[in-house]
Amino acid sequence: MIKKLKASTFVEVLVALVLVMLSFGLAISVFTSVVSSNRSLVEMKARAGVAEALEQMYEDGAFLDELIENDDYSLDIKFSNTAESETNLQLLNITAKNNKDQLLFEEQRYILTK
């Protein structure tokens, strides 16, 4: 006995294929957009970079302006004297940017250099 199989026509398959490709295209564009807009990883790396730089400064006892650049981000660390400049109080300004020169974050802190 011959068993009959259901099949699709060429046009049906073609339409389905187009639909699937459109879906995949949409998914890829969403994925790309999510990955490129997700600054968290770079930002977290930059913040860790700030902590590491400050730790090094405390270790060395030298608090100097510094520009740190790597593949993912750049950090501009600047110290400005406060009104109490004769003391060890410094105003620290940090600007972090990603590799496309977009601002990641800006921060200010008062720190004691001793």
């Binding site: 049906e12 999510v34 974050f105």
Partner: protein
């Protein structure tokens, strides 16, 4: 032409699944970024609080003791911090609080002062027309302000001075009286000795001492334990707590005290006690043998016109400050006795007399020395005593004896 949609169903199913996955990914990303922004804002709040503590640790003049205000850090109204300053015993208590939505962060720091002016000298002895006489193995290392009649070798109790140099430092002339002490330091604490509590204090009865552990955080109200007589024999008492007795406080060797302040006319600390505390007495204070009072500890005797005594017995160690202040002039002076083997690292001040038989690694400021021996009493004599400012750690921050707004330093975090 009519098309059968067999393959289309599969394609649509696949498109829906991909759509759901894409939407989930977008939602996840959105929530993740939102959470990250909240965490960053919270971190900003923490950084702002620490910045405020640093700013007001250094800059003491902008915030008076007892004052509380909201400040804009970096001239930015987005970053506001509430700061307040109060006395905590002999030190200052600086609190900074900031919040973002429902997240609130608060830190309290204990602030001390680097020794300056007379504080960086080994010895200041008022000029009462009597020279300073040194006997036995007495050592004075550091600059000294002494009576115009100077310093001399002496022979008492069968011991003459055995050192090569009387004072290892520069000697200058002292004045007839001691400089005015920071009255704020005494007045703020006398209030508690007189039973005047702050409206922000939470007064509790002595029954609370039945608990094994009493811990009061510094971001809550100050707990005041009040009774005529208080025996702290065991258990842990820690934090934002003042213990006030109208008669006597006895601290047993097994009690574990940290950061608390004791107020009573008479305070006795049993031999073998180990801890860090501040204590204010208006009549007498006795630290028995082998007591270890860790930094930052502060012992104060504050009397009106009557003479009180503060006795630190043999082999005790104290890191911090010891003072005895008589507020009104009287014939009888307050008296601090530092027995043999005692090591005090920090400040010793009295406008009365000191019987110094132990060692002070820091500075001594007093009106006169009064050496008591079994056979006699000698004025302005030191026998086998050590005063050495060079052994004071550079990082030491003590109490503000001279109302000096500069040279402030964080001593520790108060939890």
């Amino acid at each position: 032409m009519k098309l059968k949609g067999g393959a289309m169903y599969y394609a649509l199913m696949m498109a829906i699944i991909i759509g759901i996955m894409s939407a989930s990914l977008m939602l996840y990303n959105y929530l993740n970024n939102k959470q990250l922004i909240i965490l960053q804002k919270q971190k900003q709040v923490v950084d702002n609080v620490l910045s405020a503590i640093n700013l007001y640790t250094v800059n003491g003049t902008d915030l008076k003791t007892g004052e509380s205000k909201v400040i804009n850090l970096f001239d930015d109204e987005q970053q506001q911090v509430q700061v307040s300053k109060k006395m905590w015993g002999g030190f200052e208590k600086l609190t900074a609080t900031a919040n973002y939505n429902s997240f609130t962060f608060s830190k309290t720091a204990l602030i001390g002062h680097y020794l300056s002016n007379m504080g960086n000298k080994a010895l200041y002895l008022a000029d009462l027309n009597k020279p300073l006489s040194l006997c036995g193995k007495t050592e004075i290392v550091g600059d000294a302000e002494l009576p115009a009649s100077g310093v001399q070798r002496a022979y008492i109790e069968g011991q003459s001075f055995v050192g090569t140099k009387l004072v290892n430092g520069i000697i200058t002339n002292s004045s007839k009286s001691l400089p005015e002490i920071n009255t704020h330091l005494i007045d703020e604490n006398l209030k508690y000795l007189q039973g005047q509590y702050s409206a922000e204090d939470s007064v509790v009865s002595i029954d609370i001492l039945e608990k094994d552990t009493i811990v009061q955080p510094f971001n809550e109200k100050t707990m005041v334990i009040n009774a005529p007589q208080i025996n702290l024999l065991k258990g842990i008492i820690k934090g934002n707590i003042r213990v006030v007795a109208s008669d006597i406080i006895f601290v047993g060797r097994d009690a574990q005290l940290k950061d608390v302040i004791l107020y009573a006319p008479t305070i006795i600390i049993e031999h073998g006690f180990d801890g860090a505390l501040q204590a204010f007495a208006s009549d007498s204070m006795v630290i028995e043998n082998d007591v270890m009072l860790k930094y930052p500890s502060f012992l104060a005797l504050a009397t009106n016109d009557q003479a009180g005594h503060l006795i630190i017995n043999q082999n005790s160690e104290i890191a911090g400050a010891v003072i005895a202040v008589q507020q009104q002039n009287s014939k009888n002076n307050n008296y601090i006795s530092i027995e043999r083997g005692v090591e005090l690292t920090g400040q010793l001040y009295t406008n009365g007399a000191v019987d110094l038989k132990g060692s002070v690694y820091g500075n001594v400021i007093c009106k006169k020395f009064m050496l008591k021996t079994p056979s006699s009493v000698y004025e302005n004599h030191l026998l086998n005593a050590v005063i050495d400012i060079t052994k004071l750690p550079e990082t030491f921050a003590g109490i503000d004896l001279w109302l000096n707004d500069q040279n402030r330093k964080m001593v520790k975090w108060l939890e």
